[in-house]
């Protein structure tokens, strides 16, 4: 059995897999990787089972020391990373040997980066998933000094040597959405806003929600608490537009104005503060 130690933790570093399903009826959020596309890519490149756990970090990666051979890959937001002083490429699996140190730097753009390992990181399964979420798991975050197990390397037959990924370089990102349950309660001019305006990511962005800068004044009636999903955009009485993300509560009391498509959730997860977007309503 191998072990990796975090020499430094990076920022908001946790273990994530596809998420925790089947427990929403107990109020347990889905959790899971913020950018499932990049998370899936890591496992694909390593030939892993699709639910193998990865390390997820935001903005700043950890420094990891490996104590057993394996194969590792970096996906998600672009980072400059060094394995014992040699630069490693994104989306391209590389071998790690005993005592190797992987220094992952700051994300150049984007928000979430992923470290995948052959056969996945082996933290305890809690309610069917390894995704960190307190109080379901003991902790929400990996800290400096944390140690994580993984299986020692077996024969690695890669199906891909690397994958090139189109990045979000556009100035105005297009986000596909469906009309939300309470969209029809908006006035005509309020609806127009979503078809025509640009919106900006604020500095409130985390695993539970992303708030947009722009506000929409409204007098929508209060409603009974109702189910919500990641990707649901709520409009609060104060006018805030809040996009619920992976750790969001399972029910909410604010009108649900729009719903992001599954691929849009992954896209929006990688948008930094100040990034502009436009909704494409279907």
């Amino acid at each position: 059995m191998g072990e990796v130690k975090l020499l430094t933790s990076g920022f908001r570093t946790s273990i994530q897999d596809q998420g925790r399903f089947g427990f929403a009826k107990f109020g347990v959020p889905r959790s899971g990787a913020m950018d499932l596309d990049s998370y899936n890519r890591a496992n694909l490149l390593l030939g892993n089972d699709e639910n193998s756990a990865c390390i997820e970090f935001a903005f700043q990666g950890p420094v990891l020391q490996f104590f057993e051979e394996s194969v590792v890959v970096l996906t998600g937001a672009n980072v400059i990373a060094f394995l014992n002083g040699d630069e490693v490429e994104m989306c391209s699996p590389f071998k790690v040997n005993v005592n190797d140190v992987l220094k992952i730097g700051m994300c150049k753009n984007g928000v979430y980066g992923y470290v995948g390992i052959m056969k996945g990181f082996l933290t305890p399964l809690v309610l069917g998933s390894r995704s960190f979420y307190s109080p379901v798991t003991d902790t929400s975050l990996l800290k400096s000094g944390s140690k994580i197990s993984y299986k020692k390397k077996e024969v690695f037959t890669p199906k891909f040597s690397s994958i090139s990924v189109s990045k979000l370089h556009e100035k105005l990102i297009k986000i596909e959405v469906l009309k939300g349950t309470e969209f029809e309660l908006l006035s005509r001019s309020q609806k127009e806003v979503f078809y025509t305006s640009n919106f900006t990511i604020s500095n409130t962005l985390n695993r539970m929600a992303i708030r947009l800068v722009e506000k929409l004044e409204n007098q929508l009636p209060s409603m009974l608490t109702s189910p919500v999903l990641p990707g649901t955009i709520q409009l609060t009485p104060a006018g805030d537009l809040v996009i619920l993300m992976r750790d969001a509560q399972t029910t909410g009391g604010y009108p649900r104005i729009l719903q992001l498509t599954e691929s849009s959730i992954n896209k929006i997860a990688q948008l930094r503060m100040g990034k502009q977007l436009k909704f494409i309503l279907s």
Binding site: F23, K25, T137, P227
Partner: protein, 245 residues
């Protein structure tokens, strides 16, 4: 009773079904019947069903290709809305210690309502509450049946920490905080029970549709039960109830 239901496409993989917008036990019973039908008969195509006071959100394993045929399938499944046969739910006795030492807002709350602490306790422990759903936090029960006299708007500024086990009132609702959490409700009591336990699949012992009664206990009994709970030696008491229709 037959209700006019609204079927909406929530996302690529989810359908929302809405009952009339009311907190009503008859609506809940019909909703629970439909939820059970979906879980039993559509088991292979769904991931899970999330419920609230008057809605069901059905999350499918696959993208729903044809929304309208799926709605038709659901309608057919629910068409026998007059549920026959019997169903069993539980009436849980939840011990709560209503003391200032354990509940920081008890005295202030009584004062705001111009009631004695004893009266607050009597009004809170008399009703039998219905569990409408679990949401907001893992294991947070949404209960219906709070006495109107105890209704009170939430705090303008939420407390940074309401302790695990706190029994609280906010707006026209009452509930128990299953974990430490910031919150705007008034903590008027504390229960030694554990409402959320991630180490078991049935991580919350109370189910949707069950009923709850709060039983006032002393601080000593609180401490005794707490010790048993911490050692996994306590089983919450309940009465099995049968519904015949």
């Amino acid at each position: 009773m037959v209700y006019e239901l609204n079927y909406k496409r929530y996302s690529e993989k989810a359908i929302l079904i809405e009952w009339p917008s009311k907190i009503d036990e008859n609506i809940l019973d019909n909703l629970v019947f439909c939820k059970n039908q979906v879980e039993i008969h559509f088991y292979e195509v769904i991931v899970e069903v999330i419920s609230s006071y008057n809605s069901l959100l059905i999350y499918y394993r696959f993208t729903i290709e044809d929304f309208y045929s799926e709605v038709f399938r659901l309608k057919s499944l629910f068409s026998d809305g007059s549920e026959t046969g019997s169903r069993k739910t539980k009436l849980w006795k939840i011990p709560v210690c209503y003391s200032s030492a354990l509940a920081p807002d008890l005295e202030q709350f009584a004062e705001m309502k111009s009631l004695s602490v004893d009266e607050v306790v009597r009004l809170h422990t008399t009703p039998i509450y219905k569990v409408y759903f679990i949401g907001f936090l893992p294991g947070f029960l949404y209960l219906g049946g709070l006495n109107e006299v105890l209704f009170h708007p939430r705090k303008k500024t939420p407390s940074p920490k309401i302790e695990k086990g706190s029994v609280a009132i906010g707006g026209n609702q009452t509930g128990v905080y299953p974990v430490d959490s910031p919150g705007g409700w008034y903590a008027i009591g504390k229960s030694p029970l554990s409402f959320f336990n991630a180490s078991v699949e049935e991580c919350c012992f109370v189910s949707l549709g069950d009923r709850i009664q709060f039983i006032s206990i002393s601080e000593k009994e609180y401490n005794d039960i707490r010790t048993l709970v911490n050692e996994n030696l306590y089983t919450p008491t309940f009465k099995l109830e049968s519904w015949e229709k």
